[in-house]
Symmetry: C2
Subunit: 281 residues, 2 copies
């Protein structure tokens, strides 16, 4: 299992509150002790903190919890290793340049038969199915758009169509961003919440921390948080469906296929069928 | 002006001592207050800490000074902005994937006429002459070796020949690594020191810190440190010549053109000719 955390906001916002709860799942309240990483965009630039150690014991993760880095697009990952050993090169998120922008990717799930995916000159460095899938997506984008495209939504829809193919290989929950748009793709476990005025209070599930967003925000702030499992007790999170994609921009959902998807039951809600649908990476 | 710092070692070694002195030059003992960054390799993976703030005031730089990250290849940079504004995307080092490895680059100097350099699909994200020169080098490597080459020294010599061309555009002092080899190229300001048994003591120039390497090392350790200006008072640093390249592997110098270079005086040693040869980025 692994878990994902992401954020899209219309003003530079720190993710200290969500990250503080969530990082406990990297070895303390959860089993994802094989590394963690977080990427913050600031303009076209980004910075990544990562560590192949359990997040709850990591000095670097402690800094990320205490030192508020403000960003409009964040992707984070905690890992329970499956494909590929515990090492820095196998630690998500992964960032690559395409069309003069940095793209950052994190994956939860597990793929089979992924080694046959052709990544051309977008070569993976580590051994994970995740990085290889990312390289394959970049190759597909490169093939589809030999020159940098203008229409971000069209690009994201194309990515979603490619994710549909990856989902044929196994569990593929994904966060992807170019620093402007934050895209989600769900196979089984992914939730989101969009917070806007009037803001309320929230209490973390994993740590005894309560926040009053009213005190931390201005009335125009819009912030969407995405996570493998809800992070707070007293808020209503949207559960994504299998095959669902969402594109967030400045905190707002700007494109989705939610209404096109059948209301099918989640595999793990049926007794006895949990194993194959658990998030693995 | 900017300054470079690099390390090559045969055992994972922390750079806390050198970094502690050197980072003071990012706003305290030196004028390079427009950002800093450091990349550590661990296996094929890397981690980068960067900040567009002055290093001596940066909470993240404080962590890097206090928290020993052990690595065999490190590249670091402090910036006084010249080409390109003060922002995260313009903050060195820059890392890109080529041939299934991550390459990390930092530059000190200033180039003219660099916008005409063809980088093909290795597109820069920020606005610096440095990142553009790096992308051009990657493009030249891609053209020269359409499939991943085996001979690292041949590749580094090819890179040096390309650096000779970049030097025609201005000041080009460079550190480059693929995580295994650390390569230097000098136009005017670059020094190195290789420490090995018997180890002695050293005192930092920029901070009142003395270290006894004898106590920090084992007899087999070999560590080379590279810097724009010497970092210690009581050691003999090798000053590189214009056009000099060096390739370090596991702390050892494994290839160089030192003996082929004429013993020409450094431009800035002549009175009245300092401005054009000062390191600028």
């Amino acid at each position: 299992m692994c878990e994902l955390l992401g954020m899209s906001a219309n003003v530079p916002t720190d993710i200290c509150f969500s990250f503080t709860g969530w990082i406990q799942r990297s070895g303390k309240t959860g089993p994802h002790r094989d590394g963690w990483g977080i990427t913050f965009y600031e303009g076209k630039g980004f910075r990544t903190f990562k560590d192949p150690k359990p997040g709850y014991q990591s000095t670097i993760a402690e800094l990320v919890q205490k030192y508020p880095i403000k960003s409009r697009a964040v992707i984070s990952h905690i890992r329970q290793a499956n494909r590929g050993g515990v090492s820095l090169e196998n630690t998500h998120p992964f960032t690559r340049e395409l069309w003069g922008r940095f793209w950052t990717f994190a994956h939860n799930g597990q793929l089979s038969g992924y080694k046959a995916l052709d990544t051309a000159n977008h070569r993976p460095v580590g051994e994970t199915d995740s990085e290889l899938a990312f390289c394959w997506l970049l190759k597909r984008l490169d093939d589809q758009y030999p020159t940098p495209p203008d229409d971000a939504i069209e690009v994201c829809r194309f990515i979603a169509s490619q994710c549909d193919q990856l989902r044929q290989l196994g569990v593929f929950n994904m966060l992807l961003t170019d620093g402007e748009h934050v895209m989600t793709y769900c196979t089984n476990h992914l939730y989101s919440i969009t917070r806007r005025s009037p803001f309320g209070k929230a209490t973390l599930i994993d740590e005894e921390v309560e926040v009053n967003f009213q005190e931390e925000t201005t009335p125009n702030d819009i912030v969407t948080v995405i996570a493998t499992q809800p992070l707070t007790l007293n808020e209503q999170w949207h559960r994504m469906k299998p095959g669902e994609y969402n594109i967030f921009h400045q905190g707002e959902l700007i494109d989705t296929n939610q209404s096109q998807l059948a209301d099918i039951p989640f595999a793990e809600d049926k007794p006895g069928s949990q194993a194959p649908t658990e998030p693995l990476e």
